[in-house]
Symmetry: C2
Subunit: 160 residues, 2 copies
């Protein structure tokens, strides 16, 4: 199937972690967007240094988008550490999360899907960030299911 061919092996751990957090969030009644921050080491190993899901519903937060939670979970890091990282997110990142990616100069973003919502991907590309969109069906289905039942929470999350 087309989507599987887009997922490179080096991205499997990060993307699957992001999806797992999205589904955990959905199970909690939250907006099903997950993210993982992964450090790719010289020997090829991929380490998940931070992960999480959107916390609008669970923690009543307007800033704890999945990508922000993943960055926060990784803690304070020397800036050069981010240069060997990829951030995975199940949904195209909003302006705030794209801005966080630019702040820390994370060079690569892997996105589950951008059909439900398309964030500032072009801004990322224009500033040299590699952006990969997987067009993943499971990510889309989780969002469709959530939005159908919780349209107001979803609009609130994207400032609409």
């Amino acid at each position: 199937p087309p989507f599987e061919s887009r997922l490179e092996e080096r991205d499997a751990v990060g993307f699957e972690t992001a999806v797992a957090y999205a589904l955990k969030g959905l199970g909690e009644g939250g907006i099903p967007i997950g993210s993982a921050l992964v450090h790719h080491q010289a020997n090829g190993e991929a380490w998940v240094v931070g992960a999480g899901h959107n916390e609008r519903v669970q923690r009543g937060s307007c800033v704890m988008h999945a990508e922000i939670v993943a960055l926060e979970a990784a803690g304070r890091l020397p800036p050069h550490r981010y240069r060997n990282m990829t951030i995975y997110t199940t949904l195209s990142p909003c302006s705030m999360c794209c801005g966080a990616i630019l702040l820390y100069k994370i060079p690569r973003v892997v996105i589950g899907e951008n059909t439900t919502f398309k964030g500032d991907e072009e801004l990322l590309r224009s500033r040299g960030v590699e952006v990969v969109v997987l067009d993943d069906i499971a990510c889309k289905e989780a969002m469709s299911k959530y939005i159908e039942a919780n349209r107001e929470e979803w609009y609130e999350d994207i400032g609409k």
Copy 2:
């Protein structure tokens, strides 16, 4: 003095609150950047709905910039509420904080100074946000004092 003439009366409460938080942060050994989110009502009253300071040092956070803390302190809000708000910050907002301003379509940003650091002000302007820079001496002095003694923490905060 020139800077005082730039501060409009409607901005006094918000800007003074942002400065007070910056100085509170400095007193705690933190990066002295403060922010306040203010709702301007139809009758001319200005209500501070959220405020805070950078929490990198105090909470070990890489995402809790002053503007993000101010937004979080305001809590979950219906998106239209942000349309009558101004966000005040003692220092020019970084990419992440500019992205948060764009996410919630906050129409106006008042900045203490952009000499120490200049964030994505042009991106904000290009998307229709009104950006006012006060060139405030106290804001600059607090940052100079902090950075002189804590250069590494400061570079970490801007991903440098």
